[in-house]
């Protein structure tokens, strides 16, 4: 068996390339690379149907929560500003237009006995009495 020295072995692999391969290689590589970069699309995350429904429901829910309450709904007096201005406004705007019967009904709710008043009671005096003796929630219930 003949001993082989590494130095005796060829330094050439014997592999070859097609004719003019390296002459055309640069332009082809650059073109393909730039095209690859241009085609790089942003990643799109597809949501399944349930996620879409959940997202839509959340948006609708937030929208409804942010909507102002409708007029005609029961007023929550706790949300109202309890100020003299509010009460005065209510007296001037609502009670002044209220017929006498409505005012008499409001007195019945109070601790006073309506029969203690004669029929010729002064409306202004009555309004003053109501302002002093009834709270805002009672006043509002007669709207």
């Amino acid at each position: 068996m003949q001993k082989i020295a590494l130095e005796d072995l060829p330094k050439d692999t014997g592999m070859t390339v097609p004719k003019d391969y390296f002459d055309q290689l640069e332009s082809r590589i650059v073109a393909t690379t730039l095209k690859s970069e241009a085609e790089k699309a942003p990643k799109i995350v597809h949501l399944n149907t349930w996620w879409k429904i959940a997202a839509a429901a959340s948006i609708i829910g937030i929208g409804l929560w942010l909507l102002p309450e409708k007029s005609g709904a029961d007023l929550n007096t706790n949300t109202m500003v309890n100020s003299e201005f509010t009460i005065d406004y209510y007296i001037d705007d609502v009670l002044s237009d209220m017929p006498d019967e409505g005012l008499y009904n409001m007195i019945e709710d109070s601790e006073l006995d309506a029969s203690s008043f004669n029929n010729t009671i002064n409306k202004q005096e009555l309004e003053e009495y109501l302002m002093e003796n009834l709270d805002l929630s009672t006043l509002l219930s007669y709207e």
């Binding site: 590494l6 060829p10 330094k11 050439d12 014997g14 592999m15 390296f22 290689l25 590589i29 690379t33």
Partner: protein, 187 residues
């Protein structure tokens, strides 16, 4: 031919500047295409495969050049990418054909014999067969040292192995090749 450090610095700066990147990339390809091709070709053996891997390598270089820190030379960095892409290519093809990497290498070597792009003589073919029997790391070290004559220090950065380890690997690989050729002598 390895580009000198100052020229390499200029090239890197141009590659990392969006306005000059394309022109600098052309220069990079022109300078390194052959050397990278032959490194890849010696791993994958087939010309068409080497062509594909080379393209992938340059795409990766183009995409990642902005993050190149300069911890090694540009060539060392590109060589490493080319090495990894070659191994990835072999792994992918093996999995696609449902065979092991070793079986794939044997198949590639068998095809080399009848490959139109192999014009080597009997001893050159026998040498390739001997190299193909080596494990991946030994094969790579042998090719880089024997054919490419890459200094151990640079090889250490490419393969991330110590110089001492590389010398030892090359010595073992050389001994195996000599034994293979002696057992299958064609002289």
């Amino acid at each position: 031919m390895i580009v000198k450090n100052k020229e390499e610095e200029t090239l890197i700066t141009a590659l990392q500047d969006p306005y000059t990147k394309e022109a600098a990339f052309r220069e990079l390809v022109r300078t390194y295409q052959e050397r990278l091709y032959w490194h890849i070709r010696k791993i994958v053996l087939d010309h068409d495969d080497a062509d594909d891997v080379l393209q992938e390598t340059f795409i990766k270089i183009f995409r990642n050049i902005t993050s190149f820190q300069g911890n090694s030379s540009l060539f060392t960095w590109m060589y490493r990418i080319a090495t990894n892409e070659s191994i990835t290519h072999i792994n992918k093809k093996s999995r696609r054909n449902k065979i092991s990497d070793e079986e794939y290498n044997e198949l590639a070597l068998k095809n080399l014999e009848s490959d139109v792009y192999f014009e080597g003589d009997a001893i050159q073919l026998k040498l390739q067969k001997a190299i193909a029997t080596l494990p991946d790391r030994q094969r790579m070290v042998f090719n880089m040292r024997y054919f490419d004559e890459i200094p151990y220090k640079e090889m250490s950065k490419i393969l991330e192995v110590t110089v001492g380890g590389l010398k030892s690997t090359y010595h073992i690989a050389s001994q195996k090749i000599k034994l293979f050729l002696e057992d299958n002598e064609t002289f």
